[in-house]
Symmetry: C2
Subunit: 171 residues, 2 copies
């Protein structure tokens, strides 16, 4: 994901409804097997013939592999957020498995911004759909990201007032 002018985004720069689209990554059978051997060595992720006899009906990437590739696409060439993409947690669902040949991209949208009361940062709730080349959703994730505020010099104005104008929910 890249912000328009490529400058990293602070909490102050984000707004609800803002959207980001990643570049693409093609998953092939070799990647699926390699990830599965290391982290999820189950037959439906390791053996196409066996996988056809299972619930998956064919070789499927581990959901955690789809999650890892999604993270890679969100981070992009350079993390879109100042301080990086730092997740405190996430809710994740896999409506259907990623298959060999799937070309994944991630479309993300800011759902909620919750500034901290005590610290110069906040939590951004980001909804990310991981889609394949057919537009099928392979992963749906809502993550809680820690994003810093822009540091202000005293001469810049009244950060206390700026803080007071934000929603009162603390994190």
């Amino acid at each position: 994901m890249s912000p328009q002018n490529n400058a990293p985004l602070y909490l102050d720069d984000l707004s609800v409804g803002q959207r980001f689209t990643s570049t693409e990554h093609e998953i092939d059978e070799a990647q699926i097997l390699e990830f599965a051997r290391r982290f999820d060595p189950q037959p439906f992720h390791l053996d196409a013939a066996h996988a056809r006899e299972t619930l998956f009906g064919g070789l499927a990437a581990s959901g955690w592999h789809t999650a890892a590739v999604t993270m890679r696409l969100i981070v992009g060439e350079r993390a879109p957020f100042a301080g990086g993409v730092i997740g405190a947690g996430a809710e994740i669902a896999w409506p259907g498995p990623t298959r060999p040949g799937d070309v994944l991209r991630v479309v993300s949208e800011v759902l909620e911004i919750t500034p901290s009361r005590s610290k110069p940062r906040g939590i951004v709730s980001l909804r990310s759909e991981t889609l394949n080349q057919h537009g099928e959703v392979r992963q749906l994730m809502t993550s809680k990201l820690v994003v810093p505020r822009r540091q202000r010099h005293a001469a810049d104005g009244l950060p206390e007032l700026a803080a007071a104008s934000r929603p009162a929910r603390a994190c």
Copy 2:
């Protein structure tokens, strides 16, 4: 994770409160760097000196790396559940980062069992804590797993009655 006698467990064999403990896996710096290079190439996962200047205060594994290792530990030598460990989704939180030298183990507990009304399977809600050698929680996850029912022959009794005795929530 391994059930006691190593036989894979069907939905019928599970009960709320049932617990499983995995074997252990030690995370070292090389593993952290390798995962990060591939899936989460951010300075605090790639460069110990830089990481000390960040929110993490030192080299930290990607949360998705902790998630992938957790999956490896849950799957174990052989998946504890009949049909494998098949996740439809999960809620995940990282209260603190996994560090080089952390020895991880996973303690899981069955929270809820929801048989399908129409299919010979159900959804098991499993809460999994990933702990290091100091007992610090490095990941907290509640996952929804698809677990098949034991197939019954007609002569075995009345599966309809068995089904009726279960909670009525469908999935």
